[in-house]
């Protein structure tokens, strides 16, 4: 079994799919020699570089910052670059995330995801003339939305959500997290507009508090809690008690 260090063989089962060639997705097995503190992305790189150059996946920073490599590992959404071989065991299944159209192998189409993200106007809205220096804010005011600033838009939460699978028009958890980041920012004046967007039938109310998103978030954001805060802000018409 896995020990902290030393090389071991990882049996990895990858869901492959090339829409213009394959009738439907199929599983392919690989065996890879890996160190305990290699990351899953290193294992995938080894496959691509040494065994099968056609294996396709996204990665960019490889340090858990850019959000490129969210995928379903042993049934749950994870960043391949934040997962150590030590923590995943000797047998691993890797699939693209659910709820996204597959472009090829592990690469999913993020365009619909970003379109929904833009829907909540994820930028500072404040018509007051810009001050000469920063728009000041107390540490408490900054703390209020600190957690939701940590989102890297990897889509792990959105791809884990049954409400998203059932209804592709729903804005989904990641958009609401990013709306939360501005709704609870004391410098922002666009809260009412965003809450109007999110109060609609494809807004916050399709969240059924399933908590898959909170578990899936590689940044440790309590996503369901953020959504609930936005729900309460909409319901009570204020961000003070949410």
């Amino acid at each position: 079994m896995a020990t902290a260090t030393g090389t071991r063989t990882i049996h990895i089962k990858v869901k492959r799919y090339q829409p213009d060639k394959d009738a439907k997705p199929y599983w392919q097995d690989f065996a890879v020699q890996a160190e305990g503190n290699d990351r899953l992305v290193d294992v995938l790189n080894k496959i691509k570089w040494e065994q099968d150059g056609t294996l396709t996946f996204r990665r960019s920073c490889v340090h858990g910052v850019c959000g490129s490599d969210a995928m379903r590992v042993n049934g749950r959404n994870r960043l391949a670059c934040k997962l150590l071989v030590n923590d995943i065991g000797a047998r691993v299944t890797v699939e693209p995330m659910l709820g996204f159209p597959v472009i090829r192998d592990l690469v999913v189409d993020m365009e619909p995801f970003f379109a929904k993200y833009e829907k909540v106007k994820p930028y500072l809205m404040n018509d007051e003339p810009a001050p000469r220096t920063e728009r000041l804010q107390s540490p408490e005011q900054r703390e209020r939305y600190d957690e939701t600033t940590k989102c890297i838009l990897c889509g792990a939460c959105t791809g884990s959500c049954p409400s998203v699978w059932a209804n592709p028009d729903w804005v989904g958890p990641a958009s609401i997290v990013n709306a939360h980041r501005f709704i609870f920012d004391s410098r922002d004046h666009g809260g009412a507009e965003r809450m109007q967007i999110l109060g609609d039938r494809n807004g916050v109310w399709r969240c059924r508090t399933i908590f898959n998103c909170s578990e899936a978030c590689p940044r440790g954001i309590h996503v369901t809690d953020a959504i609930e805060e936005v729900k309460r802000a909409i319901m009570f018409g204020t961000t003070d008690i949410a």
Binding site: T209, I210, H222, T224, R232
Partner: protein, 131 residues
């Protein structure tokens, strides 16, 4: 199937039990309607069906569904209105299961005992409920 945790199961059970309770409600509306729109005799006969062994077993599922749906409904309300609830949602789910089982055992006993000729509520307890 996504490997979700307790939250995903709590939601799935909530959906299934909700559909089950709705289905029973439709049956219930039909049987109540018989009394006014058909006849008292047909109504009595229909209610006798509820005392048969098979339907008593089905009633067990109804009891479990109602209890689970009610207790989990309270859990969901707490998650919606109590800001700290999300930290305890898993514990609350376990609480829901415990309460469901605790309610199910005595209620299930009263429903199933007559199949074995035991009438915990006295001889009339095993009779169909007649008007």
């Amino acid at each position: 199937m996504y490997r979700g945790q307790s939250g995903q199961w709590s939601w799935l059970f909530h959906r299934i039990t909700g559909m089950g309770v709705l289905l029973f409600l439709l049956v219930h509306i039909v049987d109540i309607t018989l009394i006014g729109f058909v006849s008292g005799k047909v109504y009595d006969d229909a209610l006798r069906v509820f005392s048969t062994g098979i339907v008593r077993l089905v009633s067990l599922a109804l009891i479990a569904a109602v209890l689970y749906h009610a207790f989990n409904g309270v859990r969901i309300i707490l998650v919606d209105f109590w800001p700290a609830a999300h930290k305890f949602q898993r514990q609350m789910f376990i609480g829901v299961l415990v309460l469901t089982i605790a309610g199910f055992i005595p209620m299930g006993f009263f429903v199933v005992a007559p199949i074995f000729g035991h009438c915990p509520t006295g001889p009339n307890g095993c009779q169909p409920f007649l008007i």
